[in-house]
Amino acid sequence: MATEQQEHLKIEQLQHETPDTQEVAAGRERENLEGWIPALATDAETREALEKAFDYRGDVTLTLRSGEALEGYIFDRKQGRSLTDSLVRIIPSKGEQRTRRSIPYSEIAALNFSGRDTAAGRTFEAWVKKYWEKKAAGEKNIQIEPEKLD
């Protein structure tokens, strides 16, 4: 789920056009969150930052009030009325595959967008540009290779 700020292009487009009159639908501006350590001083900051963490396609590191540091992928969040009854669900990057933990917002002291943003840095324009460079150099079987997992 994106925040309004992240979806501002679509929202602005809809202020000028109805969905039925759109020729090309607005996409989304890339937001560079990798390495970001947001302030979690207020409830609003905490909610906003964790919403972005939920949307982020990389691992994050949560520092809990207990002092534990937990690195993993946030795949879900549930928004309650207070920070105590709001929680993120995270799949830790280490340990047994696909274990899950639920962490109430109120237990999170710090958040670090520590992992690489896997949805950043591979723009289509870059592919087109590199394709033509390689084509001009006489290369064959040009492709974007999927991530190496090991």
């Binding site: 396609r57 064959k140 974007i144 290779e145």
Partner: protein, 383 residues
């Protein structure tokens, strides 16, 4: 016949049962995502951008079967990721076939030819091969030169081995209806049973954020594309959905029509959006505030969506929802050609939108006007 009679009958009786039970919301196709790993990195896809430990994760066959039992749909589509990368995919497919589910195993077909022997032909199993257009279009879309030839080789091998083969074509801004119509001919020549076609969704994680079709352009494109049809073209789609794409019919989104189950659980609210996950199918149906989704909801992320995962079920529901819908569908079967002189003119006058070299791989140089300033040096383009 685009959809075999037995399958059409199964789906029809299932839908009518739901109607008789008074179920307001019922699923039609389970979108079962057993993994997110893929051997392609397509421009328009926002499904595979995850950290390595997530990409390595897989659903077990038992988890797949549990999900199928839970939601009870007569049809199961297996997207991904690339399902053929799952080491137990033959077991998963066989288990679904044994349960008499109509299975569409979606694949980019890079591995289809070599893995074909692991599957058994069945009326319940169809390989749904993703081919996004003629050779140049497909190769640019999947960001891999030669991808089309491998995919079509897979299609022909599967057809020759006696499998049902359908195709899935996703269109983006810049698609040329002349080329897509030729593509339909080529697919039917290759012996596919039927074809699916849909506009691409604005995945916010997709590498390409500039070529998502808006609804107005989608309707013009599909009107040019699907009017004055050739008799040999068989579409694996509800006639009402195709009319919706052509701008001939209004439908509202049915986000629960194709629920999605993956390693994260049941995806809220639909196949395309990720607003969290439920642990059970019932929880998904009960917890999602459905009125927050669909174009009419005002949700900006739903504004341009015309994708089959939201509207195919709407088309089927319309058919069985009233006598009017049933009659409209019957008419569509007799009026399969959709003769339309204005659409013919639209097609003849169609000027493909140029995105520089994107739509013409054969172009030897990028014109200065279309060259894009790019400071991104991290794209991994290898051979």
């Amino acid at each position: 016949m685009a959809v075999p009679v037995a399958q059409a009958w199964t789906v029809a009786t299932y839908v009518l049962k739901q109607k008789l039970k008074g179920r307001k919301r019922y699923p039609l196709v389970l979108m079962l995502e057993p993994l997110f790993r893929c051997n392609l990195a397509c421009a328009g896809c926002g499904k595979i951008q995850y950290p390595a430990h997530i990409l390595k994760a897989e659903l077990t066959p038992e988890e797949c079967f549990r999900a199928v039992e839970e939601c009870g749909t007569p049809m199961v589509s297996i997207p991904g990721g690339e399902p053929l990368l799952h080491p137990r995919m033959p077991e998963i497919v066989q288990g679904l076939v044994d349960r008499k589910k109509y299975v569409y195993m979606c694949t980019n077909a890079l591995l289809l030819k070599e893995k074909l022997h692991l599957f058994k032909p069945s009326k319940y199993l169809s390989f749904s091969v993703h081919v996004d257009g003629e050779r140049e279009h497909h190769d640019f879309g999947v960001c891999r030169e030669g991808g089309y030839d491998i995919a079509m080789e897979g299609v022909r091998a599967a057809v020759a081995a006696g499998f049902r083969v359908t195709t899935n074509t996703t269109l983006f801004d810049g698609a040329d209806p002349h080329s897509v119509r030729r593509h339909f001919d080529q697919l039917m020549d290759a012996g596919v049973d039927s074809m699916m076609v849909s506009p691409g969704y604005t995945y916010d994680k997709a590498p390409d954020q500039k070529h998502f079709l808006g609804r107005a352009r989608s309707r013009r494109l599909f009107r040019a594309l699907l009017s004055n049809r050739k008799k040999r073209w068989q579409f694996n789609a509800s006639p009402m959905f195709l009319e919706f794409l052509m701008g001939k019919r209004e439908l509202t989104c049915t986000p629960w029509g194709m629920p999605t189950f993956s390693i994260f659980g049941w995806q809220k609210p639909c196949y395309l959006l990720q607003d969290g996950y439920a642990d059970t199918f019932q929880e998904l149906m009960d917890e999602v505030e459905w009125s927050n989704y669909g174009t009419e909801s005002g949700n900006p992320r739903c504004a341009n969506c015309m994708v089959h995962s939201g509207y195919e079920a709407s088309g089927v529901n319309y058919t069985f929802g009233s006598l009017k819908g049933f009659v409209a569908t019957a008419k569509a079967f007799f009026n399969w050609q959709y003769k339309d002189d204005d659409a013919a003119k639209l097609l003849n006058d169609w000027q493909p939108t140029s995105h520089g070299p994107l739509v013409q791989i054969g172009t030897p140089v990028i014109s200065k006007a279309s060259a894009i300033e790019n400071h991104d040096t991290t794209a991994v383009v290898g051979s």
